[in-house]
Amino acid sequence: MKLEDLNNDNIFKVPDNYFENFPDRLQKRIEETEQQKKVPVIRLRTIINIAAAAVILIFAIYGFTKLNDNTTSADQLLSEISTEDLVDFLVESEMSTDEFLESLDMSIIASTEDPISDEFIPSEPLDQETIDELLDEYEIEMQYL
């Protein structure tokens, strides 16, 4: 059978009054779409503003905390180490007191709330009497040195 021998009648049907009602249904759908389009624009802008403010706030808090953390951690670090622990560390690491003092990051110490005043940093070598006084004060036995 050849195709040209067939009639090309339409076998598909539509519900009654479909084409009569379609323009009105479409108009309603377009109005709904327009309404929905207006609402998200406002919401989207609000969301973007809130998100931008939140990001700035988070960065500000993070930066502030981080800054404080450095100072606090230096304070905490120094205050948490007991003299005994410090001495033990020197013994275990076989580091001399001079080497230890040299290795300290003075900037961290200087950033503490109770900075070491200049009078505690000797500009000249200590005499034996002062050394003994310091050893007595910090209860460091000579065997550790």
Binding site: L3, D9, I11, F12, L26, I30
Partner: protein, 189 residues
């Protein structure tokens, strides 16, 4: 389409476009556009997706896109082929989405459409016409599209070429192959 009808269609299109571009008569103009083209676009979509409800959804989508983009429409091109192009893309995307959604090959989607031919209350025809539709569902979607536009809608190859962005030579070859496949199917079933 005769030269007289073609000229009338163009004149009508221009009148409608003029109304749509004037904010005071935009709704009226668009309504006239819908009334003028709804049936042709409906049948174009329906022959591809078979189901009436799917066709109804897609037809609304097509007109919503036309509504949103009519300002961008260039008047040197034909409004009717522009809308057909939108409808064609909607159909092909719909069939592709259907395939992707169910993770099944296109053949299985076509089998589902095949079942709708037998069971839908909105489809009735002679045994030979049903065979023709079943044969059509065995064709690749784009070939089916070309066949529908040529055989059922009696469109010119030039217009089909603009809608599908395919050369006239390829369209003629595609239609010829489709006819052979359909005749073979009808002969065997």
């Amino acid at each position: 389409m005769s030269k007289y009808l073609f000229t009338r269609t163009l004149q009508k299109e221009r009148e409608i476009l003029k109304k749509i571009k004037d904010p005071a008569s935009r709704d009226l103009g668009f309504n006239q556009l819908v009334v003028a083209y709804q049936q042709r676009l409906y049948w174009h979509i329906r022959k591809m997706v078979i189901d009436h409800d799917d066709t109804d959804d897609l037809l609304q989508e097509v007109f919503i896109k036309v509504w949103k983009n009519i300002e961008k429409f260039r008047e040197d091109s034909n409004l009717y082929t522009w809308m057909y192009k939108i409808a064609t893309n909607e159909c092909l995307n719909f069939l592709k989405r259907k395939k992707d959604k169910f993770k099944v090959p296109m053949e299985d989607v076509n089998k589902e459409l095949y079942g709708q031919l037998d069971n839908s209350p909105h489809i009735s025809g002679s045994a030979v016409q049903m065979k023709l539709q079943k044969a059509l569902l065995r064709l690749p979607d784009k070939q089916r599209l070309v066949f529908n536009m040529k055989y059922f809608e009696d469109m010119k190859y030039d217009d089909i070429s603009k809608i599908t962005e395919t050369s006239v030579g390829s369209l003629k070859a595609s239609y010829h192959i489709a006819v052979k496949k359909i005749e073979e199917y009808i002969k065997l079933h």
